[in-house]
């Protein structure tokens, strides 16, 4: 370790060069740490469970454009056909799905006397008695809808459901004491049309994954018949999704009075909804990768060059008894000093950049433990990058000291 003195003095003779690499490492630390933080936040968002059996669920939307067709009957035929396809576990009509970006919201009151701003907002899904099974939801309390409770909801008649099933999150928000089952709630502050909570399931997101109350959802026993749009969600046995989707599409396309708008797996639907987050994750990952490569290659290039420049000195040191290991250690130590210097500047840069990004664009605060981790990673990168040139230096024969050039 007694070499640090000479190394340091050698570095002070090339202040600008050292400062340039240090600054580059500092900026790299700032960018990589902040980008990694944003990536991790987004990835965590995307990974939240929707509540559905995501890998084995498909969505179908068709539009009936011939008003002479009996739509109610077509619903019955479709559901019977879909449910009888091999590999299908369950199917339900609905008007939206979780994490789809488009759906129905509803304000719910646990007390009809409350002002409208104290309503609790939730996502609403119209399903039949197969809804729970199709969405893969487990009841933690209460019961499922009965077939005779399902009512048609259309532009002409909008029935008020007297029974509904809510998510645990919504139940807890409505009744913090935990006694939600069997309670009466209202969808308007006038106190008309009471609805009873007959069941509670553990978790299902609403249609808007970026909303603050994402886990508030409610199932209502309705058959949604708004104009010609008919939407189905189908849950399959594991591994049967592709074949069920193909068979269902073939069946739905047989009817020439309808147009098949959407045949999509739930995962594809979810990826569409999260496309911006996914894009951000991929783009920032690319930035981190390429940036690390550029910085690493820059260190390799500079060290390589400095080895070439110092061939004669290195040869002289070898001739005077320095081992190969001593030479390698010299370059590693030199790089370690520069990198450490850069990382110290980078620490301030990282915090500063995060402060800027957070105040301007609300990306959030980087947790402190990211800093030592990022510093360690870049320190290792520097050491690895310098390894190759250092080994080349170690191979310089001592005899070179005796030559004139």
């Amino acid at each position: 370790m007694n070499e640090i003195g000479p190394i340091f003095r050698a570095l002070t003779r090339n202040k600008l060069g050292v400062f340039l690499i240090a600054l580059q490492i500092a900026l790299t630390l700032a960018i990589v740490t902040n980008a990694a933080f944003i990536i991790r936040e987004r990835a965590a968002d995307i990974a939240r469970p929707s509540g559905l059996d995501e890998e084995n669920t498909a969505i179908f939307i068709t539009t009936l454009f011939d008003s002479k067709v009996d739509q109610r009957q077509l619903f019955r035929d479709d559901l019977e056909a879909l449910r009888s396809l091999p590999g299908v576990l369950a199917a339900t009509p609905t008007q939206s799905t979780p994490a789809s970006g488009g759906g129905w919201g509803e304000d719910i009151f646990n007390d009809p006397e409350k002002p409208s701003n104290e309503a609790i907002n939730t996502g609403k899904f119209m399903v039949d008695e197969h809804g729970l099974e199709t969405f893969g939801l487990e009841l933690v309390a209460g019961r499922n809808f009965r077939a005779d409770e399902i009512q048609v909801a259309s532009l002409d008649e909008m029935p008020t459901s007297s029974v509904l099933i809510v998510s645990q999150a919504l139940a807890d928000e409505l009744f913090p004491d935990g006694n939600a089952l069997g309670q009466t709630i209202w969808d308007s502050p006038d106190g008309e049309d009471p609805m009873e909570i007959i069941g509670i399931y553990e978790r299902m997101q609403n249609a808007w994954p970026h909303s603050s109350n994402v886990n508030n959802s409610v199932l209502v026993p309705n058959l949604p018949m708004f104009n010609g749009t008919m939407m189905y969600v189908v849950r399959t046995e594991p591994g049967q999704l592709a074949s069920v989707m193909a068979a269902a599409e073939a069946y739905l396309s047989e009817n020439r009075s309808r147009f098949v708008d959407v045949v999509r797996s739930f995962e594809e639907q979810k990826n569409r909804t999260y496309s911006r987050d996914i894009a951000m994750v991929k783009l920032l990952t690319a930035v981190i990768t390429v940036l690390t490569a550029v910085t690493g290659l820059g260190i390799v290039g500079l060290a390589w060059f400095s080895v070439t420049q110092r061939r004669k000195q290195i040869g002289t040191r070898r001739a005077l008894g320095a081992t190969r290991y001593d030479i390698v250690r010299y370059f590693m130590l030199e790089n370690g000093l520069i990198t450490t210097f850069g990382l110290v500047i980078g620490l301030a840069g990282t915090v500063g950049l995060n402060w800027f990004l957070d105040t301007q664009y609300e990306v959030g605060r980087v947790p402190l433990w990211y800093l030592p981790l990022g510093m360690f990673a870049l320190w290792i990168l520097g050491q690895l990058a310098v390894l190759l040139p250092a080994r080349r230096a170690a191979n310089i024969p001592p005899a070179i000291a005796t030559r004139s050039v």
Partner: protein
């Protein structure tokens, strides 16, 4: 002289191929990343209708829940208005030159041939839409006021749909079947794609294709064609009416509303008109919040709706820092390289080259590296834009390199390289030749 310097530069680059390649690569990657994010940003923040953007105003009325927090700016107010307010405004006598209420919907088009039906996006609006937004016509013309009043079954279709259904022939007077109704075509629009699609920017559709079917809103309501964009409600609809009737009379917002206004005086008068309208409605028991109306011209409207996302700005900032790292990288490498050829420089100086000559000769070399970096950066930016296109839905109008961006890319690269090289070149040209020659 320049060609001689260029020859020297090529020779020098060939002598240190790895170092030179690293510099070109680093510059190229930095430029490529920055140009990718900046192109998207630049096109997102572009003016979609430059000659008129300051004469077109989006209307916002604050009809929301009286218990909600107070309104401070246009961003706090719903970007759409109710159907009933749209109807009242469009039928009023106003200081605006033109007004148009509109909403988006979807229909199934059933071709007369054996081709299968397909879905198409629709804009339900008023005859004013086309002159207000200077929509170019290929055949025919917009429908007239009378047809709005008569709830007429007429349509203006887009060029793409016209090509698909009529092989591009003049289809004015022909019929098109949507769902199970027939519409008579009165006009065909030429290619028209304002980017962003300013007249309806919410619901993630700000970069969507323009609709291929335009039809009278009065007819669309009769069918009814339901809105496909965002619908927001704060108050449950009247339960004594059918859902449709209740929806039309509700406080739900789902209509976009635009006014064309020529002068600032007219704008002030129009704003007064809106304020007075809301006061009249307050007397009827609506608009329980404090009086808030907003009119925003196109650039303001894109700002209010945050068409350029924060994600986008973050990416531009980060990729700029990335470019900075690449430039620093290049400065370091250039410094090393130029100091490494001190011997050669000393020789040239001893042979009579002035400091200025050495300076400009080395600057040419740096410039050459810059141009090479710019070229590879442009290539990488092209790849980057393809990646962006595949990552985001609906960005296809946002990801092309136009000539301005191309020149900017190469210019930026050369400039970065020259800035990066200025100090190393200066250093090397100031070396005293005598001392260096002695050690050789």
């Amino acid at each position: 002289m320049l060609s001689y310097y260029l020859r020297l530069a090529f020779a020098s680059i060939r002598r240190t191929p790895v170092l030179s390649a690293l510099m070109v690569l680093a510059l190229g990657l930095g430029i490529g990343a920055f140009m990718t994010t900046f192109t998207v940003y630049y096109l997102m923040s572009g003016d979609p209708i430059p000659h008129k953007s300051h004469m077109l105003y989006a209307v916002q009325l604050d009809n929301w829940d009286p218990n909600d927090p107070p309104t401070e700016s246009a961003k706090d107010v719903q970007p759409q208005i109710t159907y009933q307010d749209g109807q009242n405004l469009v039928n009023a006598d106003t200081p605006a030159i033109r007004q148009a209420q509109m909403y988006a919907s979807n229909v199934i088009v059933v071709p007369e041939s054996d081709e299968p039906p397909f879905d198409e996006s629709v804009r339900a609006t008023y005859h004013n839409f086309f002159r207000m937004f200077d929509v170019p016509f290929l055949y025919g013309q917009p429908w007239e006021r009378r047809e709005d009043e008569d709830h007429a079954a007429v349509a203006v279709i887009g060029r793409e749909l016209n090509d698909r259904l009529f092989d591009g022939a003049n289809s004015v007077g022909k019929n098109i079947r949507v769902d199970d109704q027939f519409l008579q075509i009165v006009g065909v629009i030429d290619d028209w794609q304002p980017t962003p699609r300013f007249y309806h920017v919410d619901a993630g559709g700000q970069f969507d294709d323009t609709e291929q079917i335009f039809l009278p809103l009065s007819w669309a309501i009769d069918q009814p064609l339901l809105p496909s964009g965002n619908t927001n409600c704060w108050k449950p609809p009247d339960e004594d009416l059918s859902l449709l009737e209740a929806f039309l009379q509700s406080e739900c917002v789902w209509n976009q509303f635009w006014a064309e206004i020529e002068t600032p005086e007219q704008a002030a008068a129009y704003k007064d008109f809106l304020d007075n309208y809301v006061r009249d409605q307050k007397a009827l028991g609506r608009f329980e919040r404090p009086l808030n109306t907003f009119i925003s011209n196109v650039p303001e409207w894109l700002e209010v709706n945050e068409v350029v996302t924060d994600d986008n700005r973050v990416l531009v900032r980060l990729s700029f820092l990335f470019l900075l790292v690449c430039v620093l990288n290049t400065v370091g490498l250039l410094l090393a390289k130029f100091l490494g050829k001190s011997g050669e420089v000393a020789l040239r100086r001893a042979m009579g080259a002035s400091q200025g000559a050495v300076f400009s000769q080395n600057l040419v070399e740096v410039g050459l590296i810059g141009v090479l970096g710019g070229l590879s950066g442009t290539g990488l930016a092209w790849l980057g834009l393809r990646a962006v296109e595949s990552l985001y839905r609906g960005y296809q109008h946002l990801v092309h390199l136009d000539p301005v961006m191309l020149t900017t890319a190469i210019g930026l690269a050369t400039l970065s390289a020259i800035l990066a090289g200025l100090y190393p070149v200066w250093r090397v040209s100031r070396l005293a030749p005598a001392g260096l020659l002695k050690t050789q």
